[in-house]
């Protein structure tokens, strides 16, 4: 069940703006750092002061080429920048430099999987453009003004457009996640949706099943999480179907998603305002990309997500599931491989990452694999100590948490060996030592021994508990079990 009512078909296309992780802006040498004080990162070009001219950032072009290569698209040997004309105070030039007729990336495919079924999502194009500034209204109402911050103006964006091939909100979200995975994997975008580095607009229309003609579409904007994307599309599908069933007609318009009320509402109609009067920007010559340049970038591209997943399965003998989990991000995959290179057994490392590490990361959104304190060598040492039965599973977890949660540098950098000693986590695996403890416990607990011999299974667990207690939790539980069984039989 994909949430689409019987008798109806849903058609969805997505337009995604991925902010490129360049140091400087697309047409100027201003910084692109997020969150700076207003207008401290906007120079004369970004502010469109008279006499300024745009000069294209090579880094932005290379990012576009990398993206095209990652999705099997055609890199246009010649593409053209165009002016998209509209008036808004946060757009100082009165036009946005974008690409129209001839975008830099053409075609390409991103596979998605929904309910176990794989489906290719075809891309129409991806083009380079500049972002606008920000208009701020909060707290300024009474003054009758809006505040303008142009720090974001001129930030490089790659707008990635799909064909209208998705048929449910779930497919749209699967695509958005897959795309997010690709751009962050190849490192051209940080993917931070809260900060607006990855923004999705969805074009949604509905039609009666079997109708060859597309319905009128609405564009949903202002969706800053995958969950909201799904809910916004689902709301919009319901709205359009109800409207048509009640004899109404869908009007082509832009709608904003309001997360608080979980609904979309009309923002502006496309009737008049959307005539952008595109034309080639005379300030910028055509962008020419040679085959040699594409080859050079291809050579520096990281191994792609899918390829890494397959390699993990073969090289480290991991299950498809494990390999998939470990390749959710480049940082995670790198962390896994670093741990393995430090001597961690691949399956153990994989289990640890999927288990205790993920559990700790999920507890706190601020943390991510990128800034976790546990060095790959430390995790490898913990796992090696565990493998050699030098520590118990509980002890391994404790060690990992201690390093993970350490506030100060010295605790973070301590060697695992030293920490085991310091925290008294050495596991007793010496049979003679354990036997000695068992003998003492048996002597002191004759009542339990008697109960066990008369058939009370519970008494055995009680004795195990006593042995563990007597060893202050350090005895190897498996050995305790085995030795105790032998003694009592």
């Amino acid at each position: 069940m994909n949430g689409v009512p019987a008798g109806w078909e849903v058609v969805i296309g997505l337009e995604t703006h991925a902010q490129l992780s360049t140091a400087s802006k697309i047409f100027s040498g201003s910084k692109t750092t997020y969150g700076a004080a207003p207008n401290t990162q906007a120079n004369a070009v970004d502010m469109a002061l008279p006499g300024t001219l745009p000069v294209l950032n090579r880094g932005a072009v290379e990012a576009a080429i990398q993206f095209g290569l990652a999705i099997g698209a055609t890199i246009a040997p010649r593409s053209v920048f165009a002016r998209k004309n509209y008036f808004y105070p946060d757009l100082p030039k009165g036009y946005q430099i974008s690409q129209f007729e001839l975008p830099v990336v053409v075609g390409g495919t991103i596979p998605i999987v929904v309910d176990g079924v794989e489906k290719p999502v075809q891309l129409t194009r991806a083009h380079l453009e500049e972002d606008a500034g920000k208009s701020l209204h909060e707290g300024l109402d009474s003054m009758g003004v809006s505040g303008i911050d142009l720090n974001r103006a001129g930030t490089p964006l790659l707008e990635i457009v799909t064909e209208p091939v998705m048929r449910s909100a779930q497919e749209a979200v699967a695509y958005a996640k897959a795309l997010h995975g690709i751009v962050t994997w190849i490192g051209i975008c940080d993917g931070n949706m809260q900060e607006g580095s990855f923004r999705c607009d969805a074009n949604v229309s509905v039609r009666r099943a079997g109708d060859p003609k597309l319905g009128t579409r609405c564009e949903i904007k202002n969706v800053n999480s995958f969950r909201f994307l799904e809910r916004a599309i689902e709301f919009e599908i319901r709205r359009q179907i109800e409207l048509i069933e009640d004899g109404g007609r869908v009007v082509q318009e832009t709608r904003l998603y309001d997360a608080d009320r979980d609904e979309t509402r009309s923002m502006r109609s496309k009737e008049d305002s959307m005539d952008y009067r595109y034309f080639p920007d005379p300030d910028l010559l055509p962008l020419v990309i040679s085959a040699a340049q594409i080859e050079a970038i291809k050579a520096t591209m990281p191994e792609l997500q899918k390829a890494t997943e397959t390699r993990f399965m073969h090289e480290y003998k991991l299950s498809e599931y494990d390999a998939h989990v470990l390749t959710q991000s480049k940082a995670l995959a790198n962390y896994f491989e670093a741990c393995v290179n430090e001597g961690g057994q691949p399956k153990r490392v994989a289990n640890w990452i999927a288990g205790p590490l993920s559990a700790l990361l999920n507890g706190d959104d601020e943390l991510s694999i990128k800034n976790i304190h546990v060095a790959p060598a430390q995790l490898a040492q913990i796992l090696i100590a565990r493998e050699k039965e030098l520590i118990s599973q509980k002890g391994a977890l404790e060690l990992f948490e201690v390093i993970f949660l350490a506030e100060d540098e010295s605790a973070r950098n301590s060697s695992v060996e030293a920490l085991i000693k310091e925290r008294g986590l050495e596991q007793i695996s010496d049979s003679a030592a354990i036997e000695k403890i068992i003998d003492e416990v048996l002597a002191a607990n004759q009542k339990s021994v008697g109960e066990f011999k008369s058939g009370k299974e519970k008494a055995f667990q009680s004795l195990v508990g006593q042995v563990m207690k007597a060893s202050t939790g350090k005895a190897n539980p498996a050995q305790v079990n085995a030795l105790l069984t032998a003694k009592l039989s």
Partner: protein
Amino acid sequence: MLLACLFAVFNRFSREATFFTTIRKEFRFMHLSLDDIQRLSRLARINVAPAESPQIQNELNAVFNLVEQLKAVDTNGIEPLCHPIAAIEEMTLRLRLDVVTESDQREANMGNAPQQENGLFFVPKVLE
């Protein structure tokens, strides 16, 4: 601004046509109505009083007559020339390295702003 106006009209008369085919094939007949003038003035944010409309209509139609003369030339097989300089000498777009070359110039940049506060330009309230 004139460019933007011209292209507004181009687009109006060839919604489906692409830009390049627009300038090649359309305009066998071009006459702007007074409604077109009003629409253009809205798009260009230039207030045109109804009394001025007929004059502007005439002037713009004169421009389009010029365009029509250009259109009469057979340009089949000729690449659109959007960047005349590229026809004079072999030139492609120059790229710059991705490095930050600008420092904070807020004070200087905002020196002429008629209204500002806390580093923000103030503009008449934007209604959405």
